[in-house]
Structures are given as C-alpha cells and as structure tokens.
C-alpha cells in the first residue's frame, strides 16, 4: 500500500474527534493510513479485516471506531439506566486480554475519554461478574468461552442490545480450531440480537484472506465478505541460522550442544525471547541455561502447565523489563506486547513458515526496524528445515492451514447454550447457524440430528424421552426441561479438553506421602505420572523433583536430585511440519547447488548420503532397506510430518504382518519413518510379495485404516474430547476424582458400547472426522501416497545410510509397538513364571 501522508492528515481531521488529533500531536505521532482507513470503513457501516504485521499499531486501529464513537456519545444522566456493552473484544488468550487492558487504558486515560474497560475471563471473581451484568463496562475484553457463557444467560439479549462492535484479535489463530467454531456460532447469535452489529478482525498475514473476510460477516447471501485492509510487512527481519562451532547432532530435540552460544547471545542483548516447540523442550532448555548462567542473569520459564500465579509473575516481570531472557512455548506465541525484546531465539525447527514469522514478530515492536532472530536447529534435518523456513520468510510465503468445516460436537454445545438463554425456534436457529461461515454448508437433516442429540442423546433406541434435556412445547419452541440443565451447561462450556491432569503438590523432603501439603507447582498429565515409581526424579518448572506417589488427584513430590532425571513428555504442543515447508525441504535435498547455504558439516552429511545411497528427486519417495543386528530395517523419507508418518507406520506394519514379514515395530519423525522386522523385507519386495508399490498403495486408506482406527487409542482419545464438548460426559474437575474411578463412566467404555450398538451415531461421525483431520493427518497421507505413485525409489544397502541415522537413533526412545498390550501382560506373566521356576 502506498502511503499518502497529506491525504492521511486531511482524513485524520475529518475522521478523528479533536481530542484524538491533539493526543497524536502531543505524542509526536500521526495516525497511520490503515488506522484511518479502517476507521472510515467502519464509520461507513462496514465490517473490516485488517491484516498487518506486528508493530503496525493493529490494536489501536481495531479500537479507533469504538473509541471515537464513545468519545462523542452523550454522557449518561444520573438516574438513567445503565447502557449495555458497546464493544466486545475477543482474544484467544486470557493473557492477551489482560495485556490489552493495560495497553488500551493508557491512551484512553491520556486522551481523557469517559470510557470504561474491563476484562472478563475464567479468572474473574464472581462478584465482579455479577456487577458487570448490572453495570456493564463500555468495552469488555474477553475470550470465546466467556462469550458462550454470556449468550447462555437468560438476560443475554438485554446485555448485548447496545452492542456496536466486536473486535476479534489474532483472528488467524482463532479460526483454525473448534474454539473458532464456537466463536462463529456466538457471533451469529449476537447478530440475531443486534442485526446492525459490525465486526473488526485483526490478523497476521494468512494464505487465504478471503476465508477470514467471509468468516467476519453473516453468510447470507453466502460468500458475503468484510472489507479488507492489508499493511505490507515492515523492515525485512534479520534472521540467521546458528553456524555452530560444535557438532550438530544427528537426532534429538534438546539443542544442548548450542547452550554456550545461546548464552553468549543472551548476554549481548537486552532481552531475549527463546521459543521452543514443546513444554519438555522448554524445561530442558531452561535447566541447561541456568547451568551455564555464571552471571546469574534473570532468566525465566513460561509454559502452559505451570501454575497460573507463576505465569502471571513472569509476564509482569517481562513487562517491567526485569528479565534478560524468557524460555517460552506457544503460550506466548500470540500478539502480547513485551516491550523491549531485541532478540528472538528459536530453538528447534519452527515447523511452519507463518509460525516463524509470528514468533519473530515478537522482537522489536517497531515496524521500521528489522527484527532480529537466530534459529537453533536441534539436529541435522532441522538445519534443512530452518534453512527452508528462512527462505520462505524472506519470500513472504504463507502456510497457515485452510479452515475446516464446523464441528458437530461444538454445534451441539451451542444449541444447548441457546436453549439455556431462552426458547428457540428450530427453523430460525438453523438459518442463524448457517450464517456462521464454518456452518454455511450445514444440511438441515444434520442440524435436526444435532437437536435430537441435544434433546435425548439421539439414539436409535428411544429410551430417554422422559429424561430429555430440551423439549419442544406446543408453541413449537424448544426449551430446557429443567433449570439444572443450564447449571450443567455452564460447568461444561468450552472446547478445550485437556488430557486428564494431576496437580503437582510439593511436600518437604523425607516426609513421603505423609507430608502435609505444600504449594501446588502446576499440572502434569496423568499418563506420565503413571509411569513413575516412587523415588524417580523428574524435571518440572525448572526444578528437579522426587516423585513420592499419587494421592487422590495429586502427584506428591519433594526436592529431588541426582542423575537419571526424566523429562515429562506432553501430548499437546507438538506441531507437525507444514506441507509447504516439507516441500521446500525436499526441494533442498534434491538440489545440491543449494547446499552451499548450509553449514559445512550438514552439506557434508548430504554428500556422503549421495555417495553411499541416493538422495531422492523432489517428487520421489526414497525407501532404503538394510540389515542390522539380526533385524531387517526399512526407512522411508516422505517428509510429511510425524502424525502422517505415524498413521503410515501403523498401516504399513499391518500390511507387512499380513505378508508374513513379522514386523516388530516402527518409529516416526517429522521427516522419515523406520520399520523393523524379523524377515528380509527387501527380498519380499523383489519377489513382489508384495512389491514396494503395492505396499504403499493408496488402498491402505480404505479397509486397513477403518479396521485399525476402530481399536485405536487415538480414536478413543478423540471420542472423549468430542463427548465432553458435546455435553455427553462432564469435564473432570480436580477434587471430583476423590469419589474414585468406579463411580464415573469412562469415555472408553461408552465408546466401546456405542460403537458396537450404533456405529453411525452422530458423535461417532464427529469423532471420525476429527481423527482423520487431526491426530491421523489422513488427508496429507493420502496426498503423499498418490503423489509418489510410480515414483518410489528403492535402495537396498548393506548397512545403514547417513540419512537414516536420525530416525534410527529415535528407536527405543519412542517406538510404537505394533502389537496389542496383551503382549506386555504376557511378558509380565512369563517373568513371574520364570522366577518361580515354573516355565
């Protein structure tokens, strides 16, 4: 966009009320063109999408229409009724809402506007919520879940009747998840309350802006779009890949080799933000940095499992510029303004070009100065990936994921929420729901099944009519059948279903399980705690803790020490390699001219691979086979991300089992996949029993996938999430566990019973849709299989190739056993037999 300062100044005078013009003048600033343009479009009655890089003054732009309107609004006279909310601001993170309150409060105070701004999040105390309902602030900063709760209140219509604007921050990140679906439905509801409502979406650069423009407005007629304002990126960021003095390891994710160099970089800068991809990486990096921290620099840790209080303290210290470095995961990914960050260090590969751009945007919040970032690849493949991401960022490539269709479990939750807010007419609600972009293509029959599900569970066996949660009365309207339904709904609202977690409770050392409760340090996933033995040491919140035992819903720990420290793994937080980046990495492998850009040791690695085996062409799939020990290995290099590889691994082992190759297990990384077996797979391929082409045939996505899926723990985990969101089973809260496992019905049992009795139930449909898209990445696997058809290059080797080393090193760390859990039971039973001399 070309800047025309004169025009902007003229416009400013027309569009901005006098106090704003004065304020800008006093600050020595002038309003930016996009800020004024957004204001003009909004004042013209349009909804608008603003796409701008960080540091472009997006937040102020988003609030200008509200602030100018509120500045001109006549004051409320004493005795006059309180006015409703004027502007609703919705962000994906609680921390962001708190941050905005701080940042917006400043100009409002300086300009002297009579505007009240308040937050409402899960942390807001109930007396404040009550008061907000009676005396609403002008601007309410909140999250999608809170909006859902407000809509389900029986006074929702009155509460929102004065609403003018909804500002949606970090829209690109909101829309890609189920939270986005819930939010889209909430917006549709608000539009029914206030048809003249305008939306303002703030977003980082995305691949398909039109999708977001549709998302912002009612889809009647379908395809209707909000206005668009795009601000070009600021100064080109200064990004480098660490060219380490040390040896870059073959595999692993810790980047331990680079710690001294990272520490030097921290010392040279004012404030450094260190991003990692997973919470366990964050723990490790933090621990290692403190080990190197001879100068005792203030270095902090921030991730989602830590106790809220601790997170807030770190955020505050950061805002006060009291920290020199902070190690963080995606909890800090989004547009929180951290002031004086002058270096971003990204440890591990960024997994997506857009994600990298977002994170680098954290440094130097001034558009005209280049952001500075260093990428630290943790292993050799990540060097390639970092290089590819770096090229992409310069080229401005975008690989944000495409939007998916609205989920039915979310719709179920919303329908119940609407009923809690008041009676509804099914025809009207159907029209309203279809105005939300994710549900624009929803069929009436599906909608009716959802309503039926909400009412009685929607089962073919009509057993629950008398227990219906909502009922259709004689007037044709649906109502909740009892006030307790609304209470239940309120406890279960939201779409974020965490894996079962235990509080980590600290006790004094030596007291064991008898120790009195000390502070809660955070949360840990149950399945990790289950693999610990009393006396094990593990790393959490930067401390070494000794596991004492599990007491009710708490994991009891004391101070730990010593070697053999375990780092908890977390199910969440692992992003797969983006399709775009994978494509780039394949391109780089195939093109030896581009190796010049790589560190010498990595280029060398590729050259030796070329000599000993082969490097695949851009569109080819390389499959190597080689014997090792008394096993036979097959390593494939699809570069499609860990999830797709995991699915592929499951399906390949099934097929190899049928071909009597006796596969023993497999392991998947983001780049490659290794399968090992007792029999010689190369000989099988040669004898075409099956051929490699047949083994990798797309038809594995048919029956094999179906058969495997049904028993897969992944589907059970997905079902649990859907069942909680849809309101079939309740969220687990800490404390409820006390009643013991035998009292509740586990989602796994429900899944088994439902699958055998009503496989087409709407919730199972929703589960399958989710699993194919999420945990399994089936579509990506499908695209890969069809791409490599007839282009599989088989290389049989006498020994392991250089390219195979990284994945081979992962074996034993996280291999997936092909067989069922009964094998493990058999081993345990045999051990006993053996020990007792009965074998």
């Amino acid at each position: 966009m070309t800047e025309q300062p004169r025009l902007a100044e003229q416009n400013a005078a027309v569009l901005l009320p006098e106090p704003f013009v004065e304020w800008f003048g006093k600050k020595g600033w002038s309003p930016r063109v996009h800020q004024l343009e957004l204001l003009a479009q909004a004042q013209g009655g349009q909804s608008v999408l603003l796409i701008a890089p960080t540091g472009a003054g997006k937040t102020l732009a988003g609030f200008l229409p509200s602030l100018t309107e509120l500045a001109n609004r006549p004051r409320r006279k004493p005795g006059q009724a309180h006015r409703g909310i004027h502007t609703l601001y919705i962000s994906p993170l609680k921390a962001l809402a708190v941050d905005i309150e701080r940042n917006l409060g400043k100009p409002v105070e300086e300009i002297g506007l009579p505007v009240t701004i308040e937050t409402r999040t899960g942390d807001t105390p109930s007396h404040k919520r009550q008061r907000q309902k009676l005396v609403p602030p002008d601007i309410l900063l909140t999250t999608p879940e809170q909006l859902a709760l407000l809509i389900a209140g029986n006074d929702a219509k009155r509460f929102f009747e004065d609403l003018r604007y909804v500002v949606l921050d970090e829209l690109h990140s909101l829309v890609t998840s189920k939270r986005g679906h819930l939010l889209a439905l909430g917006l549709a509801r608000l539009r029914t309350f206030v048809p003249s409502l305008q939306t303002i979406g703030l977003s980082a650069t995305v691949a398909e802006p039109d999708e977001l423009r549709c998302w912002l407005v009612a889809q009647n007629p379908p395809g209707d779009m909000a206005g668009l304002i795009t601000v070009a990126g600021g100064a080109k960021p200064d990004i480098s890949i660490l060219d380490s003095r040390e040896r870059v390891p073959w595999s692993g994710h810790s980047a331990r080799y680079a710690i001294p160099e990272i520490y030097e970089a921290i010392k040279k800068h004012r404030t450094t933000l260190l991003f990692v991809n997973t919470r366990s990486q964050a723990e490790l990096l933090f621990q290692e940095l403190w080990r190197a921290n001879e100068d005792s620099l203030p270095i902090a840790l921030h991730h989602g499992s830590l106790d809220v209080g601790q997170r807030r303290r770190v955020e505050k210290a950061m805002a006060d510029n009291a920290l020199r470095a902070i190690v963080a995961t995606s909890t800090l990914d989004l547009g929180i303004d951290w002031g004086d960050v002058d270096l971003v260090v990204h440890v591990g590969a960024p997994k997506g070009a857009s994600r990298l751009a977002q994170r680098i945007g954290r440094s130097n919040h001034r558009m005209d100065e280049p952001s500075k970032a260093i990428l630290i690849p943790a292993n050799r493949f990540e060097v390639l990936e970092c290089r590819a991401a770096l090229d992409a960022n310069y080229l401005g490539a975008q690989d944000t994921p495409p939007l998916i269709k609205g989920a039915l479990d979310v719709l179920s939750q919303h329908v119940l929420g609407v009923a809690c807010g008041g009676p509804f007419d099914a025809d009207l609600l159907y029209e309203e729901v279809r105005a939300a972009a994710p549900y624009a293509a929803l069929e009436r029959e599906t909608f009716d099944r959802v309503v039926d599900f909400v009412a009685t569970g929607g089962y073919a066996l009509k057993n629950y009519e008398r227990y219906a949660r909502i009922r259709r009365n004689k007037d044709g309207l649906w109502r909740i059948s009892h006030p307790s339904v609304a209470q239940q709904y309120r406890l279960n609202v939201g779409t974020i279903v965490e894996m079962p977690e235990l509080n980590i409770r600290y006790v004094r050392q030596g007291r064991g399980m008898a120790g009195r409760g000390g502070p809660v340090l955070g949360k840990i996933e149950e399945y990790f705690a289950e693999t610990l033995r009393p006396g094990d040491n593990f790393l959490f919140a930067g401390k070494v803790l000794r596991f004492e035992g599990i007491r009710e819903n708490e994991c009891v720990v004391s101070n730990g020490a010593g070697a053999n420290i375990i780092v908890p793994s977390y199910a969440g937080g692992k992003f797969p390699l983006s399709t775009y980046l994978a494509e780039q990495v394949r391109g780089m492998l195939a093109d030896s001219d581009r190796w010049k850009l790589l560190p010498e040791q990595v280029a060398d690695w590729l050259r030796i691979q070329q000599e000993k085996s082969v490097l695949p062409k851009r569109g080819d799939l390389l499959v190597e086979t080689f014997p090792r020990g008394n096993r036979h290995y097959m390593v494939a290099y699809p570069f499609e991300g860990r999830l797709a590889h995991q699915t592929l691994g499951m399906l390949l082992t099934r097929r190899l089992e049928r071909a009597h190759a006796r596969p023993l297990g497999f392991v998947a990384t983001d780049y490659s996949l290794a399968v090992w077996a007792l029999d010689d797979m190369a000989a099988l391929f040669k004898a075409r029993k099956p051929s490699l082409g047949q083994l990798f045939d797309e038809d594995m996505l048919g029956d094999d996938l179906e058969a495997w899926l049904n028993d897969s723990w992944m589907l059970k985990r997905t079902f649990r999430t859907c069942a909680v969101i849809a309101g079939l089973i309740e969220k687990r809260y800490p404390g409820q566990e006390k009643s013991g496992r035998q009292v509740t019905v586990s989602a796994d049992l429900i899944y088994d019973v439902l699958r055998s009795h009503e496989p087409d139930h709407i919730l199972l449909q929703a589960t399958r849709t989710d699993a194919s898209a999420g945990l399994l990445d089936v579509s990506r696997l499908g695209e890969m299989l069809s791409r490599v058809r007839g282009r599989i290059v088989h290389k049989h080797l006498d020994q392991i190739s250089p390219l195979a080393v990284p994945v081979m090193l992962e074996i034993g760390k996280e291999s997936v056993n092909g067989g069922a859990n009964d094998t493990l039971l058999m081993e345990a039973a045999d051990l006993v037999e053996e020990a007792m001399g009965r074998a």
Binding site: T456, G457, Y459, L461, N463, Y464, Y467, R469, H482, S484, V485, Q488, Y527, A529, E530, T531, R533, G549, I550, L728, I729, E730, G740, R741, Q742, V743, T744, V745, S746, L749, I750, D752, V753, L754, S756, H757, E758, H761, N817, A820, N821, D822, L824, L825, M826, E827, A828, A829, L831, V832
Partner: protein
C-alpha cells in the same frame, strides 16, 4: 452332548485356581465358574447404569444393559451352570429393574429359566428386584464358600465378594497396562465388575487394605484371549 464338550474345552486342569479347597475357573470375561458345583458367579452387573445417568441429565448411550446381558448370555451358554449367583449391585439403583426395557427383561428371564438363580443384595440394590424370578439373599453359603457383596473386614476363608471392582496395573517397557482383574490370595477372591459401564479401582488402593495376605496376592488380569496371573509384587498403584 454339545455343551459338555464345549465345557470340557473351556476348562483345562492347569487353569483352575484354588479357593479354600474349592477349584474354580477365572474366565477372561470376568466370571468365576466352579465345575464341581456347576456354579457360575458374576458380580456388579450394574444393569441400567446408562438410564440411571440419563435421569440426572447425562444422556450416555442406553445400550449398556443390552451389552451386559449379551455377554452374560454367552458365558451361561458356554458353562451351562446349574446355579448362578449374581453377587450384588446387579442393578445400578433401586428402580433399575422397573426401568429395564421389556425386551431385556425377556432375555434375562430366558437365561434364568431352568436353573437356580440367587440375587445377593448389594449397596446399590439393597432391596430385591421384586418382580423378577430368582431368590434374594443377603449372603449365600455353599460348601466351604461364602458369597457376599462386600468383602468382610475380618479374614474369611472361602469368601467370594465383589463391590470393589478390582483392576491391576503393570508397567512393562515403559508402557502402562491397566486391566480389570480377579484378586485372590488362595483364601479369598474378589471378582471384577462385569457390567459394560463399570469402572475399576486398583487392588493396591487403600480400600483393599488388610483384605489379602500380600505375599500370596495374585491379580488375574483379563486379557483379550486369556487370563494373565500377575503376582502382587509386580503390580503398580494408580
């Protein structure tokens, strides 16, 4: 005869477990069969648990009663017992029998026909299901065995109980496996819950304190095709 053949196939001498001198089969489907008495024991059916939840607003699938009865039908067909003991908590709540769908009631009655059937009272269903056949008892003594729902505090040789829904957990190669199980020490046996929606409680939980001689405790964990006898020292809490 057909069914005696199938019974012979089911029971191998090695699979028999001794309880206070009586011999029993721990079936991997969660029932206990005493071939010498031709007695089948099943515990914690929790029939109509689904509808019990539905009454309180959680509309979980109404197929649990059907699933549980189907499984029960299968074991009864296999063993053809003369006596069946349902060890309490047969229904999830006192009005469960009334709520039961007519077709399920028919299936249950067909299973009961031609054999002695005892409903042992449980804490969920202290009153007998009045309109169903079978005899309701607080407890039942047969030979050296005593059948009751809740295991008694004092040690009783030959006690067969339910109530606690035992499961056991092992960790092997860094992976954790949890299964329902029979828990026994040679003198007493606590049976796993049989119902489709029944959860379970680890045998190392406080609730089991003092019930077993720890040195001889064995968890008979239910596998997909067989039972796995795991000694107490291999088990993990949680």
């Amino acid at each position: 005869m057909n069914f005696s053949l199938s019974r012979a196939m089911l029971i191998a001498e090695a699979d028999l477990v001794g309880i206070a001198g009586e011999r029993a089969v721990c079936d991997r489907r969660g029932v206990l069969y005493f071939p010498d008495l031709r007695l089948l024991a099943v515990s914690d059916l929790h029939l109509e648990k689904g509808s019990s939840f539905a009454r309180r607003g959680a509309l979980i699938p109404p197929y649990d009663t059907g699933a549980t009865l189907l499984q029960l039908q299968a074991v009864i067909a296999d063993y053809q017992p003369r006596i069946v003991v349902s060890l309490g908590d047969s229904f999830h709540d006192g009005s469960g029998a009334e709520r039961m769908h007519q077709s399920f009631r028919g299936r249950l009655e067909a299973m009961m026909a031609g054999r002695d059937w005892f409903w042992v009272a449980g804490n969920h269903d202290p009153e007998a299901p009045t309109d169903l056949p079978g005899e309701t008892v607080q407890e039942l003594a047969i030979g050296s065995l005593v059948f009751r729902h809740e295991p008694s505090k004092l040690r009783v040789e030959g006690e067969i109980a339910g109530h606690l829904h035992p499961c056991a957990r092992i960790v092997q190669r860094g992976r954790s496996v949890r299964r329902r199980c029979f828990a026994g020490d040679g003198g007493r046996m606590i049976m796993p819950a049989f119902g489709a929606y029944t959860g379970s409680l680890n045998v190392l939980d406080r609730a089991y304190a003092d019930l077993f001689r720890l040195e001889t405790l064995v968890a008979y964990m239910l596998g997909a095709e067989r039972i796995f006898a795991i000694s107490g020292s291999m088990l993990r809490p949680g």
